[in-house]
Amino acid sequence: MSWAPAGSGRQRSLSGRSEVGFGNGEKARHLEQLLSAKEIVVACGPGGVGKTTISASLAATAAARLGGKVLVLTVDPARRLADALGVKGLGNLARRVPGEAFAAAGVSPKGELYAAMLDMSESWDALVRRHAPDAGTAREIIANPLYKNITKRFSLGHDYIAMERLYELHEQGDYDLLVVDTPPSLNALDLLDAPGRMTEFFSSRLLRWLIVPYRSRLVNLASRPFYQVADRILGSQFLEDLAGFFILFQTMRDGFVARADAVNRLLRDVRTTFVVVTTLEAVPAVEAEQLIESLRDRRLHLGLLVCNKVLPTSFSDPLVGRTAELLEKRASELAESLAPRLPVDKATSSRPPAEMVARVLYEIARSFANFRLVATREAELLEELSAAHELTATVPYHPGNVTDLSGLLQVGATIWGDETTASPPVLAVSKAKPRRSPDPAGEGN
C-alpha cells in the first residue's frame, strides 16, 4: 500500500505556504503526496460552488490512482450524482461504488471507492445513544418534543454533526482516506468552530442556570436578570420544559465534551487537510479568501485550493480577442463570400441570405466578447487567489452537471493537472496552450 503511516510528517508547513510555485507535473506529484500522507480531507467553501462534485472527484480519483479504501461523505448531492454514487436513501450507511462503474468509465482502479450520505437526524440519535448514561435516558431524550426541534434548528447542529461523523468514521479505521463534503453554513468558519462551541455550550454557566430547580433561582443574584428576561420572553412553563430537557441532556455532558475536544484535535491533526473550493466570481472568491486566512490563523492545514467552473483561458487571450474583433468588424464582407458556399436550407429550399450569415458571425463575435469580459475578470481573481496559496487547481466550466463516475474522474484528472485529459466536448478546442500563431491580419502592435 502506498499510504504513508499516520502522522508521517509529510506536511511541508502548517500554513501550507512555500515560496515556490510549480508547473503541472509538479502539481500532480504534490497532490499525490498530499492525499497519500493525509487521512482526512475536508472540503469547504461558499455555497453553490460545487463542493460536493469536487469532493466526490477527489475521492474517486484518489481511489483510482492511489489505491486503498477511500470514502466520500456527502451532505446533499444532486439526485443524479447521488444515483451515480449509489448513496440515495441509504442514510448513514456507506456503500461501495461498484467496480462496473469504474469499468464503464474505462478505468481499473487501484483501490476501492465508498460513498455515504450524512443523515442529520440519524447521526444525532446515534450520538445520544452513545453518550446517554443508559438506554432509558436515551429513549427519553429522543422522544422529547423539544429534541427534534432543537436538533433540527440548533445552530451548531449541522456543522457539528458533520465533524462528529467524520471523527467516528476515522476512529473506526475502516478507510485509508476520508473525504468530507461540508454542509452549507451561514459562514464556512462555523464549521471549524463547531466542536469548540459545543464544548462551550455544555460548560456554560447559563446552562447551569437554566437547569437549576425553579425555587433556587431566586437565591442566585447573578442569574436573576437572566430569569427575568427568559421568563418574560418565553413564559415560565416553556422555560421549565426547556430546563427539563436540558437536565436530561446534561447527563451526556462529559461524553459530549470529551468527544467535541477529540473532534477538535482531529481537525488540527497532521493527518487532516482542508481543501477550499470556490468559483472565480467576486462574492464567493472574497469568502474563499477569508476562509483561507482563517485556516492560517487557526494553524489548520490548507492542502489545496480548487477554483471550479472556470472559463477556458483562451477566452481571455488577446490574440483570440483580436480575431473575434475582426470577425465582428468584417462580418458583412465575410458573409458575402461564405453565403454561396453554405448548403441549401431544407426548410426554405434556398441558400441562407448573406444578411443572416452576417448576423450569425456578429453574434459569434459578441458572444466571445461577453465571455472575454468574464474570463478576464476570472483570470485576475485566480491570480490574486493563487498568490495566497501555491497548490491551486482550476476545473473548467462544464455546462450541465457531472452526473457519473467518468465525469468525476475527468474532473479529478483536471485537478491532478493531467496534460492529456480530454476536456468536455464543448471546450475541446479551447484548452490552454502556448500560442505560436501569427498576429491576425498582421496588424501587430
Binding site: F315, V320, L338, G400, P440
Partner: protein, 318 residues
C-alpha cells in the same frame, strides 16, 4: 395575485450562490425609485447587502441608501431589546451584559426564538406602516422554512409569555396573500432548480407564506434561431473554417477558440432551458416566472444591482 411591488412584505430566498441578495437589493431599489418607501433587510448579517449597494455597513438601526430606501441587517438581540423597550416596556438598561449573554444562550438552546425575533421585527415594520414595502434578503433554502414556520411552531411549543402573545398578529400578516409573499430565486441549473421546486412545496405545506413569484436569474439569451444555428454549425466545418481563417488572416486555432465561446453559450442556454421547463411545469401556473439575464459586464455591486433592477422592471411590465 398582486403586482410584485404592491406587496407589503417580500421574503427573497433561494439556494446559496444564485444571486438572492442582488435580486432582493434590485427589487428594493426598483420599488424606491417608484416612490415607495422601502426597507430592505438582510436576515443573515454577512454584509452582502452592504456590498450590493456599496454603501458601507447596514446596521440594525438602518442606513439610508437613498430618499426612499433604507437598508438594515438583522440583529436578533437588538430586535429583542427594541421589542422589550417599545412593546413590552421592560426596562433592560442596567442589565445589559447579563441580558445579552442570557439572550444569546436562550436563543441558541430554544428553538424558534431567533427566527421569531427576525420575522417579528419585519412584520412589526409592516404593521406600523413605517414603510410601503419591506424586502427581506431571507435565509437560503436550508433555513428559510424554519424561519417562516417559527411563529406557527412557537404557537405549538409555548403556551404563555410575550413571545406567544405576539404570534397571532404575526401569523395574520405572514398568511395574508395580498400583503406578504415569497420570491424564490434560482438559476437555470440542476441543483438550484431542484431546490426551488422543493422549497416551493415546503413553503406551501410548512409555512403560512404564499409564493409571489419565481425569479430565474442569470439566464443566457437565445443566441441563434433554428436557421441561424444551422449556419453556425456549418461554420465549424473545415472548409468554411479555412475560408474564415484565410479571409481574416488569422490561424485556425484562433478562429476555433472564438467559435468555442458561441458554442458554449448555445450549450449552456440549451441545458438551462431544460431546467427552466422543469421549473415551469412544477410551479403552480398562477405563479409568475420572471427571467433575469446573465450579466457579463459585472456580477456584483451597485452597477449589477441597477442592471438587475432595470431587467426586472422590464419583466414586470410585460
Amino acid at each position: 395575485m398582486p403586482e410584485l411591488l404592491s406587496y407589503k412584505l417580500l421574503f427573497v430566498t433561494g439556494k446559496g450562490g444564485v444571486g438572492k441578495t442582488t435580486v432582493a437589493a434590485a427589487i428594493a431599489l426598483l420599488a424606491s425609485e417608484q416612490g415607495r418607501r422601502t426597507l430592505v433587510c438582510e436576515a443573515e448579517p454577512k454584509g452582502d447587502l452592504a456590498r450590493a449597494y456599496e454603501c458601507g455597513p447596514t446596521p440594525f438601526s438602518g442606513r439610508r441608501v437613498s430618499d426612499d430606501l433604507v437598508a438594515m441587517s438583522m440583529d436578533t438581540e437588538a430586535s429583542l431589546r427594541e421589542y422589550l423597550r417599545v412593546v413590552a416596556r421592560v426596562p433592560t438598561v442596567g442589565h445589559v451584559g447579563p441580558v445579552a449573554r442570557a439572550f444569546d444562550f436562550v436563543a441558541t438552546a430554544a428553538p424558534g426564538i431567533r427566527e421569531i425575533l427576525t420575522v417579528g421585527k419585519l412584520c412589526f415594520e409592516v404593521r406600523e406602516g413605517h414603510y410601503d414595502l419591506v424586502v427581506v434578503d431571507a435565509s437560503s433554502t436550508g433555513s428559510v422554512v424554519g424561519q417562516l414556520a417559527a411563529p406557527t411552531g412557537i404557537n405549538e411549543l409555548i403556551s404563555v409569555g410575550v413571545v406567544r402573545s405576539q404570534t397571532d398578529w404575526i401569523l395574520d400578516i405572514l398568511g395574508d396573500a395580498e400583503r406578504t409573499g415569497a420570491v424564490l430565486v434560482t438559476t437555470p441549473e440542476e441543483m438550484p432548480v431542484t431546490e426551488a421546486i422543493d422549497l416551493a412545496g415546503r413553503l406551501a405545506t410548512d409555512t403560512p407564506v404564499h409564493l409571489a413569484c419565481v425569479v430565474a436569474n442569470r439566464v443566457l439569451p437565445e443566441l441563434f434561431g433554428r436557421s441561424e444555428e444551422q449556419i453556425f454549425n456549418e461554420l465549424g466545418r473545415p472548409s468554411k473554417l479555412d475560408l474564415l481563417v484565410k479571409e481574416i488572416g488569422s490561424s485556425r486555432e484562433l478562429v476555433e477558440d472564438v467559435l468555442a465561446a458561441a458554442r458554449l453559450a448555445v450549450t449552456v442556454r440549451r441545458d438551462g432551458v431544460s431546467h427552466l421547463e422543469r421549473l415551469r411545469a412544477e410551479i403552480a401556473p398562477s405563479v409568475p416566472l420572471l427571467y433575469l439575464p446573465y450579466l457579463f459586464a459585472r456580477s456584483h455591486g451597485l452597477r449589477a444591482v441597477r442592471q438587475v433592477a432595470r431587467a426586472l422592471s422590464e419583466e414586470l411590465v410585460t
